[in-house]
Point group: C2
Chain length 126, copies 2
DNA sequence: GTCAGTCGGTTAGCATCGCTAAGCAACTGA
DNA sequence: TCAGTTGCTTAGCGATGCTAACCGACTGAC
């Protein structure tokens, strides 16, 4: 996994958004506004790490932080329109190399990878 | 993959050897003495990064660097006895959590993960 | 034989990303 | 009302990745 991750990273080196930031944008897109701690738990990262990631996205204008009206401690992070567009652009850019590699595989091999991804996701939640 | 990696890392946080260092020890054990550049290529890492990893292992006495008698530029990295022992210890320590999680899966699911690992290894080599 | 170019490895220095410790403000319950 | 908890952030460290630049050893053309 580590070797594959490093190999993949090489293909994305020219992008202006990091891996962790992209993951957060994707989660916000799929799940809607989320609190920093919910994002941290989902990504299996400590709250301070998520604070930093969110701060970076916010300073780029891709997300906004809003206070929860019911609980002054709580914050809610949400995508901006710029964030949504950026997510779409990044998705397009990232699909290139990996999609080409996946296309070279047998359908059953792609299925194996998909199943393994689900297993790893479940494993990460233990 | 990123989430699973971070989850796994939590289980190893108390160890005295890092992930990359462990990987290098394992490669040396399996393949025998190797040059830094061969190690770097295998791990999909830049030569300077591997230099640092090897230097750290060497200063811990787990590997030794020897010059190639035929080519003065070349270096060969090899395990010391301490390195071999350390590798065995670390292997034992690391197997705990993951082995327990894997034991909870169906045999077919473990097979899926094994196949996926092979596919990812091949993918990393492209 | 020599000297320019290449090659393997390293050093220097930077960015990112993970963490823990500690702080602050908001909430909660005895 | 006030002590404890909770959610988030700030501060600061360590590990890991990179590129640029350097050095000594080799190689090949002359």
């Amino acid at each position: 996994m580590a070797r594959a991750s490093r190999r993949l990273r090489r293909e994305r080196s020219s992008e202006d958004i990091t891996d962790g930031q992209y993951a957060v944008l994707a989660v916000l897109d799929r799940r809607g506004p989320s609190s920093p701690s919910a994002l941290a738990e989902h990504e299996r990262v400590s709250p301070p790490s998520m604070t930093r990631t969110v701060a970076c996205l916010a300073s780029s204008g891709l997300v906004v932080r809003a206070g929860d009206p019911d609980d002054g401690r709580r914050a809610l992070v949400d995508l901006t329109d710029a964030g949504r567009h950026h997510l779409a652009d990044t998705r397009r850019a990232r699909s290139g190399w990996l999609a080409a590699r996946l296309a070279e595989l047998e359908p059953s091999q792609r299925a194996t990878l998909a199943e393994a991804a689900a297993l790893l996701t479940a494993l990460a939640e233990r």
